[in-house]
């Protein structure tokens, strides 16, 4: 009934909040796209679609990047466009192989900026071990796009025996995060016009496929992986809780957050678990494998500050519960609205 009220009238329009990665984005996907395109490969609504060709399983994904500003501390839109898609593939357990890259460029955009972005894409692709093998370019009138938008799609191969999905979390599993949260969100904010504040913080934007590859060699008991990008840790945990029909319990004090991020959150009235990350992953793993996987993360340069932040229970199904520092509990809900548009 809620959705009908929102989308049935011919006068209703798309709001910015529909793109925030929070509750409205999920409704939009469920009510418009998933309903219309309905098929068994789309239906799991994981980060990548997974399909088999002659016995080999493949992951396929796509994402568009509209971040503003296009250059930010620790990265730029090009690096983000490669990392984002590589990471979406990695979260299905796949080893990413090939990417496409499509550019929508606003008339008047500087060549030097384009070259800088492309160079950064080349370097990031090399770091991740993927090749950009096809692409497209469109130039639109001034004002019809904001400088440059990039779409990338990617394919990767899933090794035999690996079955990772947001639907696989089980009661008793442990919840791990590979490092501090909110770095990307705050780095972008600090560079925003009208909100400039000085911080030494840089975006955590990085390809995670090599970390995932290592974790998969340590234990086959990784049930779910997801990178908490737009919508932050809270949206990711809520998605996983809903997809698996379980309750996820996390302890606030165990979630690693940099002091600068906590400080910025206090100032701006945000909560770190609602802020975007571009180089972190959430892993839900069997309890008996948790310590080994945590150790594996900590031994890797991208997981030094990894932590076990909670566990999976049967109840409350589809919800996330946070234990606060003073020992009480409350729900950790999915982000609603649009506190930070265009962060990726």
């Amino acid at each position: 009934m809620k959705q009908d009220a929102m989308m049935n009238s011919s006068e209703d329009r798309i709001l910015l909040a529909h793109g925030s990665g929070g509750e409205l984005s999920h409704q939009l996907v469920a009510e418009i796209f998933a309903k219309s395109f309905q098929n068994p490969l789309l239906q799991p609504l994981d980060d990548s679609a997974v399909f088999s060709v002659e016995g080999t399983r493949w992951a396929f994904t796509t994402d568009s990047y509209v971040v503003t500003p296009i250059f930010f501390p620790g990265g730029d839109i090009g690096k983000l466009a490669v990392c984002g898609t590589v990471n979406d593939l990695a979260m299905s357990g796949a080893q990413p192989l090939f990417l496409s890259a499509a550019f929508i460029i606003e008339e008047g955009f500087l060549f030097s900026d384009l070259k800088r972005i492309v160079r950064s894409m080349k370097e990031t692709a090399a770091e991740a071990g993927v090749s950009i093998i096809t692409g497209d370019t469109k130039v639109v009138n001034r004002g019809a796009a904001d400088r440059v938008f990039i779409n990338t799609a990617g394919v990767g191969r899933i090794p035999p025996g690996i079955h990772i999905s947001g639907h696989n979390a089980l009661p008793g599993d442990k919840v791990l995060i590979s490092g501090t949260i909110g770095d990307h969100g705050v780095a972008i904010l600090s560079a925003r016009e009208g909100l400039e504040f000085s911080t030494t913080l840089v975006s955590d934007c990085v390809p995670l496929n090599l970390l995932v590859k290592k974790l998969l060699t340590l234990s086959p008991q990784i049930h779910s992986l997801r990178d908490p990008t737009r919508g932050g840790l809270s949206s990711t945990l809520n998605e996983l809780a809903r997809q698996s029909g379980v309750g996820i319990w996390v302890v606030e004090n165990s979630i690693p957050v940099k002091e600068e991020v906590r400080g910025a959150c206090e100032l701006l009235g945000f909560e770190p678990w609602n802020l975007a990350n571009e180089g972190k992953l959430v892993a839900i793993v069997a309890s008996e494998a948790a310590e080994a996987i945590l150790g594996g993360m900590k031994d890797h340069p991208l997981g030094r500050e990894a932590a076990i932040i909670g566990e999976v229970k049967e109840a409350p199904p589809g919800k996330v519960v946070l234990r606060t520092p003073i020992g009480s509990t409350r729900l950790l809900d999915m982000l609603v609205g649009e506190p930070l548009p265009r962060i990726c």
Partner: protein, 376 residues
């Protein structure tokens, strides 16, 4: 926020967070909670006036560490929520003025008016920008001189001085294309109006820390003197609130109602003279409509005559349309403290943060949004 920025600049993020952490320490909270449990042997009903308290109480799950005898009720302390439907409609009408840019704090954008909301108006092509400070509104006006920038001034004594300062600065600079819609409200007399309605039975008030940092503790003294109610001005961290609840319980038990200040690090008896002066230079008290309560004399802040050319209401002189609220929306009763969010039939059913029917579900500080988001 200004205070916090300065604090950060002075002592760095690490010290700042260490400072905050002291007020979130489970070990320090435990004895306070135990003492409250020991003393609260009969029902005590307390109203937290401030929306920021409502959020902190929900965010830290304070209700589930307090004894069942203590009931915390949210009051009319969310500025977006108490903004009347007629004012919301006027804001949306202002966005339709040719060449207008609306500059507003984010909370206001999704509040449903009679037929639309600012975010719907934006999707229809109106220029509505979320800013973090009224000064950003002035910057937009300076950068786009051909446009008419209208800042939506919504808030209590906490925000009013900054907006007063902005208005005075706009006057000093002679900015011609900047104006403010003042929907500001002041707190103490609204509490009197609420008590005079006689609907809500209270045993004490948890009073707002930030508002009181500006106005001091004296304007609340009538609450204990005339109505015999215990009052504590509280800070916003969980330990602040727990300590304040304990102070209220003690006053109640000892039958010694008075206005105490728990938030000593921010509040004194007199308040911030400079901020009060700034407000007095820009605004004068006016009668204003509060959602759910009605017109409360002297609780609005209208522009002084000499600043009329910065007053968006007078400049654009738009007719007030007949406003309609959703007939099922019970935000008014929630704001008067006589209905808990969950007792509203639309709560979490027809009315959710993504599809809000009333402002209490929209604003970050709204009690329905807090109850929904944090499951309290």
């Amino acid at each position: 926020m200004f205070f916090l920025s300065v604090l950060c600049a002075l002592c760095g993020y690490n010290d700042f967070m260490k400072y905050i952490d002291e007020y979130r320490d489970g070990e320090k909270a435990r004895p306070v909670i135990e003492e409250i449990h020991r003393l609260a042997d009969q029902p005590i009903r307390l109203m937290e006036v401030c929306g920021t308290h409502t959020v902190a109480i929900a965010r830290y799950g304070l209700r589930n560490v307090l004894p069942p005898t203590i009931e915390l009720i949210s009051g009319p302390g969310c500025p977006v929520c108490v903004t009347s439907q007629s004012d919301v409609d006027l804001m949306i009408s202002l966005s339709r003025v040719p060449g207008a840019i609306i500059a507003t704090f984010g909370d206001m954008v999704r509040v449903p008016g009679s037929d639309s909301s600012l975010d719907r108006a934006r999707a229809q092509g109106r220029d509505i920008r979320v800013v973090y400070s009224p000064l950003d509104g002035m910057k937009i006006a300076a950068a786009e001189p051909q446009k008419k920038v209208i800042f939506l001034g919504v808030g209590f004594e906490t925000t009013a001085p900054t907006i007063a300062a902005t208005v005075l600065e706009a006057r000093r600079q002679g900015l011609k294309n900047f104006s403010v819609f003042s929907a500001h409200k002041t707190v103490p007399r609204a509490l009197k109006a609420l008590l005079e309605l006689g609907e809500v039975k209270l045993n004490g008030f948890l009073l707002p820390g930030h508002v009181s940092a500006i106005i001091g503790s004296r304007p609340y003294e009538f609450l204990s003197q005339d109505y015999g109610l215990p009052c504590v001005i509280s800070g916003f961290e969980p330990l602040d609130i727990l300590q304040s609840v304990l102070m209220l319980v003690r006053q109640f038990k000892n039958r010694t109602p008075r206005v105490e200040i728990q938030y000593r690090r921010g509040v004194d008896e007199q308040g911030n003279r400079k901020a009060q002066e700034m407000m007095a230079r820009a605004f004068q008290p006016s009668d204003v409509e509060w959602r759910g309560i009605g017109c409360i004399p002297g609780t609005g802040l209208a522009f002084r005559e000499e600043l009329a050319d910065l007053d968006a209401v007078r400049i654009f002189d738009l007719p007030r349309v007949q406003s309609r609220e959703n007939p099922g929306c019970r935000c008014g009763e929630v704001l008067r403290g006589i209905l808990r969010p969950r007792e509203c039939r639309m709560f979490a059913e027809a009315c959710t943060p993504e599809n809000p029917i009333g402002p209490c579900m929209v604003s970050f500080e709204g009690s329905c949004a807090a109850a929904y988001k944090y499951g309290s």
